[in-house]
């Protein structure tokens, strides 16, 4: 029994690794896009700060800039996961790739997890580019108070966004203009997901404290800056984060299962 379990685990992990490798190859198959990303990121950051100036914000302290660095990174994570991954799944649905995967006897969730994990490489590139841009534009060095906790929080954020994107893409894949919803969700989800630091005012602190999906993102900021934003112990925040991720993972599993059954029954995922 134990041997059988090990074989199954090895098989599943092997497939995830295979999907991971494929995802990394796809991500780096277009070097021009990565170069464009590296060029455009500092431009967007400059625009963001210039626009704040347009609203009358004259001076930003080094702590403000550090907070903005992590806000920028969290926003780029949400955008990357919703667009590159979430919409990537939908495109695979429209192109019939998901149906081919099922026809090949593979599991959709394994495919999503493996491919999603390959985005970790992109996440790390995001962090390097954003940190580099802040260093060049604002002379701000990244503060890393607790690197192990930061690494753990990055894993938690990745898993959370992976499951949220899977659930989201499976729910809206049948809509005709789903990119419109993605555009709107791109602003709503980060607001509920801890993008805005709790220091800014009591309302934001309350949202961050009571929104279960906010904890991994807040942990990321707290571990980097060493500031406890919501007056909740790190252990409790970790526990809440894990619980939320497990719940999201279970929900993703159920929804992908339902989608798979629909696909097998109708043989068609979308209207296209």
């Amino acid at each position: 029994m134990v041997g059988l379990r090990r074989v199954c685990l090895r098989l599943v992990l092997g497939k995830i690794v295979l999907e991971f490798e494929r995802g990394v190859r796809v991500l780096f198959s277009k070097p021009a896009e990565n170069i464009a990303f590296i060029i455009s990121t500092p431009l967007w950051l400059a625009f963001f700060i210039l626009t704040l100036r347009g609203y009358g914000v004259i001076k930003l302290s080094s702590v403000d800039l550090q907070l903005f660095l992590w806000v920028a990174y969290a926003f780029s994570l949400y955008t990357t996961w919703l667009w590159a991954f979430g919409h990537g799944i939908m495109d695979e649905g429209y192109d019939g790739v998901l149906e081919y995967i099922l026809a090949g006897g593979e599991d959709l969730l394994t495919h999503f997890i493996g491919w999603g994990l390959s985005l970790v490489t992109y996440e790390l590139m995001d962090l390097v580019v954003i940190a580099g841009s802040f260093a060049i534009l604002f002379n701000t060095r990244v503060s890393l108070i607790n690197p192990p906790l930061l690494a753990l929080s990055l894993v938690l954020v990745t898993l959370e966004l992976l499951f949220i994107s899977v659930i989201y893409s499976m729910l809206v894949i049948k809509l005709r203009s789903n990119w419109v919803i993605t555009n709107i969700i791109q602003f709503i989800l980060p607001t509920l997901g801890g993008l805005i630091p709790g220091e800014v005012n009591n309302y934001v602190e309350a949202i961050n404290k009571y929104s279960p999906i906010a904890y991994p993102v807040i942990l990321m900021r707290e571990s980097a800056l060493g500031i406890n934003e919501i007056n909740v112990s790190i252990t409790t925040q970790l526990a809440y984060s894990l619980f939320t991720i497990l719940a999201l993972g279970a929900l993703a599993w159920v929804i992908v299962d339902i989608t798979t059954a629909r696909l097998r029954r109708s043989g068609q995922l979308s209207l296209y």
Binding site: E33, A36, W44, F48, L52, S177, W179, I184
Partner: protein, 258 residues
């Protein structure tokens, strides 16, 4: 080709493009709500550091609207050609006796109308809320300024469309172009914060001239002196676009599309 035939051809291309756009009503919705989301989000951020008043907000709102329509206008021709190439129709299109200038201009005019429509619909509530009926009246001349101001951007788009025939990584090019146009728009920040040479570049760009001209009218300041700059830009950038595109198209017609 007789003039009536040209007009009917132009009309047919416009109708076709309009039908393609109207397949995605959600896109039109985004054009209307996006300035609210972005200007509102930035105002919320700024309000943590300073007091944001109504006039600041409307300036920024118009600024974001101008950036959005500028980006769309610059990308229209290039995106169209890229889609035609991806669908395998570009060579056939270029082989027809219809001038590509006419095809690109007709598709872009539809985009101008959609953009201006979105600008008016999005601005209506906020302009009425801030300036009342007189604000709504001022929206009409500002609409004309936007139509004129999109022409030099069409010129830049034409030059980009030429580049797109040559290169394959269109998305990468568009990412860089979008961020450049946004930063160099000068539409959401005061120019004096920039180094002098960058300010000079921004002033020479049609986005800044369009923004200042539109804002001046909306705020009741009358016609800005930059309107002359906008008129000069319209001629200059259109010439640049026609020249660049023409050169590239000629070489492509000789060598074929890669």
């Amino acid at each position: 080709m007789r003039i009536t035939n040209r007009v009917s051809l132009f009309w047919a291309i416009m109708i076709n493009e309009f039908k393609i756009i109207s397949r995605e009503p959600g896109g039109l919705l985004i054009l209307i709500i996006m300035p609210y989301l972005v200007a509102g989000g930035m105002a919320a951020m700024a309000s943590f550091f300073t007091r944001v008043n109504g006039v600041d907000f409307i300036r920024q709102f118009i600024g974001f609207e101008i950036i959005m329509v500028s980006v769309i206008m610059v990308q229209t021709g290039a995106r169209f050609l890229n889609e035609e190439r991806s669908g395998g129709r570009l060579e056939a299109l270029m082989a027809t006796p219809v001038s590509m200038y006419m095809v690109l201009f007709a598709t872009s005019i539809v985009m101008v109308l959609v953009n201006v429509g979105a600008y008016v619909v999005a601005s209506l509530p906020i302009v009425y809320g801030t300036f009342g009926l007189s604000g709504l009246v001022r929206l009409i001349p500002s609409m004309i300024i936007v139509i004129v101001g999109l022409m030099p951007l069409y010129g830049i788009g034409l030059a980009l469309a030429g580049l797109v025939i040559r290169i394959r990584d269109v998305d990468a090019l568009m990412n860089v172009v979008t961020s450049l146009i946004t930063v160099l728009s000068g539409a959401t920040y005061p120019l004096y914060v920039l180094p002098k040479w960058i300010s000079a570049v921004v002033v020479a760009m049609p986005m800044y001239q369009l923004y200042q001209s539109t804002l001046s009218i909306i705020m009741g300041g009358g016609v800005s002196a930059l309107i002359y700059g906008l008129a000069a830009s319209t001629v200059a950038y259109l010439m640049l676009g026609v020249f660049t595109y023409g050169r590239i198209e000629k070489s492509v017609l000789k060598a074929g599309i890669r």
